[in-house]
């Protein structure tokens, strides 16, 4: 009797209960996947489509836009014997500068984190002061730095004056220095961010390993390189991801500090997209979409790398 009751209840268990193990992960994923598809994947395809049109962003793309195939890309790269878009080239170069120089935030952040990772009275206060720049809005950072760089009265100009260096037009007014000036401003909060990542990473460093290394006679630089840094690999990875993305997205500081100027020399791709589509004098949605696609393809290189690394890590963890 008891046996038959058991098999009855087995049969009565709902379909969901029977497939719970298989379904549950998908239920967890569902909201994320839905938003990812609607707000990330779909717009990417839309920009691909839009970049094939000559469209000013007004009205409907089918009625007001003209299909021109790859013409926008020809214009960007100057393929049909036309002159390549100079502003696009400037943006591309500036993006490269951002990518390379922004990575300085990682060693800087590590250095500050190691420096702050000590047991001193009131260390939390120091840590929070170092983290502070990341908390303030980028707009404020941009404004503070533009005042810092002002010609004549700006603190930076006064300081370079002591060494007899004079930058014509001020840091942000000179096309040769403006981009570097903005990157330096961007490094300030980004370093703070990397620092906090490393501080948390340092918290997780295994004290027993450090102890063992010390018994083996490891000290100073050796200890850092062979014992501490390998354990900080996850933190470094995250810092790398965040910094690369931050560099490619660099928009707010450019917009606030120079507005792409002087004469467009500080443009980056994301700012150029904005300029061509949404800004006051931008009415070239199709063209802007083409620039956005190029930016996406550049990002895709890094995205693939991140995904591949994560996949490898997962495999290792399981294997």
């Amino acid at each position: 009797m008891s046996i038959s009751a058991d098999s009855d209840s087995q049969r009565q268990r709902s379909w969901y209960k029977r497939n719970e193990i298989a379904i549950t992960p998908w239920l967890f994923l569902a909201p994320g996947v839905l938003f990812f598809v609607v707000y990330v994947i779909a717009p990417i395809w839309q920009s691909f489509g839009m970049s094939l049109y000559d469209w000013n962003g007004l009205g409907d793309i089918d009625t007001n836009g003209t299909y021109i195939g790859l013409e926008n890309y020809n214009k960007l790269f100057g393929l049909n014997g036309e002159r390549a878009d100079r502003n696009f080239q400037i943006s591309l170069w500036n993006n490269l500068r951002w990518l390379v120089l922004y990575l300085l935030a990682i060693p800087l952040g590590l250095f500050i984190a190691l420096f702050l990772n000590q047991n001193v009275r009131g260390i939390r206060l120091y840590k929070s002061l170092f983290f502070f720049p990341f908390v303030i809005s980028q707009v404020v950072v941009g404004l503070v730095f533009s005042w810092f760089y002002l010609p004549n009265n700006g603190l930076f100009t006064v300081m370079t004056g002591w060494f007899g260096i004079e930058i014509r037009g001020g840091v942000l007014g000179n096309p040769n220095t403006a981009t570097y000036g903005i990157i330096a401003a961007g490094l300030w909060p980004q370093t703070a961010y990397c620092m906090i990542l490393y501080l948390t990473g340092l918290n997780a460093v295994d004290p027993e390993q450090v102890e063992a290394a010390r018994l083996d006679g490891a000290k100073g630089r050796k200890m850092l390189w062979h014992v501490i840094l390998p354990q900080l690999k996850p933190a470094t990875f995250i810092a790398f991801v965040v910094t690369i993305i931050g560099a490619l997205r660099s928009f707010d500081l450019v917009s606030i500090m120079t507005g792409g100027g002087p004469f467009g020399s500080t443009r980056v791709l994301s700012y150029y997209v904005f300029e061509k589509s949404l800004s006051e004098r931008g009415l070239q949605y199709g063209y802007a979409a083409a620039v956005a696609v190029v930016l996406f393809l550049i990002m895709l290189v890094f995205i693939s790398y991140f995904l591949w690394t994560m996949y490898q890590d997962e495999k290792e963890a399981r294997g």
């Binding site: 000013n56 962003g57 007004l58 009205g59 007001n64 214009k75 002159r83 100079r86 002002l150 010609p151 004549n152 037009g169 001020g170 942000l172 007014g173 120079t258 507005g259 100027g261 002087p262 004469f263 467009g264 300029e275 949404l278 800004s279 006051e280 004098r281 931008g282 009415l283 070239q284």
Partner: protein, 419 residues
Amino acid sequence: MHSILKTSFAAFVAAGIAASAMQANAQSLSGDLVIFSDMSNPAPRAVMEDMVARFGEMHPDLNIELTVIDREAYKTQIRNFLTANAPDVANWYAANRMLPYVEAGLFEDISDIWEGAMSEELASTKAALTVGDAQYGVPYTYYQWGVYYRKDLFDQFGLTEPATWEEELANCQTLLDNGIKCYTIGTKFLWTAGGWFDYLNMRTNGYDFHARLTNGEESWTSDEVRATFANWRELIDMGAFVDDHQNYSWQEALPFMVNGEAASYLMGNFAVAPLREAGLSDDQLDFYQFVEITPGIPKGEDAPTDTFHIPSGAQNKEAAREFLRFVVSAENQTLINNGANLGQLPVNALSSVDDDKFLQQGFQMLSSGAPGGIAQFFDRDAPAEMAAAGMEGFQEFMVFPDNLDDILERLEATRQDVY
């Protein structure tokens, strides 16, 4: 002949007034009237709210909803709301700035409002609001551009208002010899340099050439354009402009003039208010029309016009039309443009100009001193893409005048592309 014209004009006006009065009586408007406005600065905002209140009193059954949007934000939002969620009335600007919206069918053809008396009263700006044969908006205000200068500094060095290019240069040299820059300017947001180009080009080659150039009918590498830049270069090489101007906005360039480090400013009339607030009295501040460069060329002037439009997706077009008629009426324009409100010039020829010294001078200049024609402004006369490239080039030229050939070739390439 003359008197006949006059009487017919009077009859016209009378008929117009009678017609609009009749309409006001006959129609009782009802429903909702949604207005989006970019008049977000304190004074314009008060003007807008007051206009809505007075219009509301005339039409008690009408429910008016006014939304005031920040002026800069408005420029990007207008595309979305014209397509998706159109109000009944919206602010915008004349000439090329409204062209994309007209071409996309987003602004309503309101030629019917312009019929009759209105065309006479608003004749000065009709062309700027016409596309093809139809009108797509109505003007509510405009303002003159010109050289605002420190009269006390001029007096100190025995200078007088110049009328020719030679006098302008001589004045400038005297100022420079005394350690004062001739002009302040802040080109961070580019458009201020567009003002200089407009004036130098209109004075060197005339209004008609300038209009053809902004219309894409003349080459940027032509000798005429080069002549304009050569004149500009004379000033740059003298050191006439304040240093490092690419770092400043137009407001940030004001202190140079207030502190007496620079003597004058080529600007729109809106610069007067902040200069007065900064402590300059009307004895210290004066205004002159941009000097003649090529003798004999009729002078053209910049006078940008701000406008109201009806989006084609509007729900209550009847009430919207009535509101536009109300906005352009002579009494309303007199009221909203007076010194206590906008402090600018009314467009309607029948309205009167405030006693303010600068408004009076500006009105004189535009009504009798600009036989060449009235331009809107570089970024409203030229299409968006051309304007952006052009003003960027002007800024570069002002900092690195040696790059001129490269700049002009770039502008020419842009012109080939845009038109």
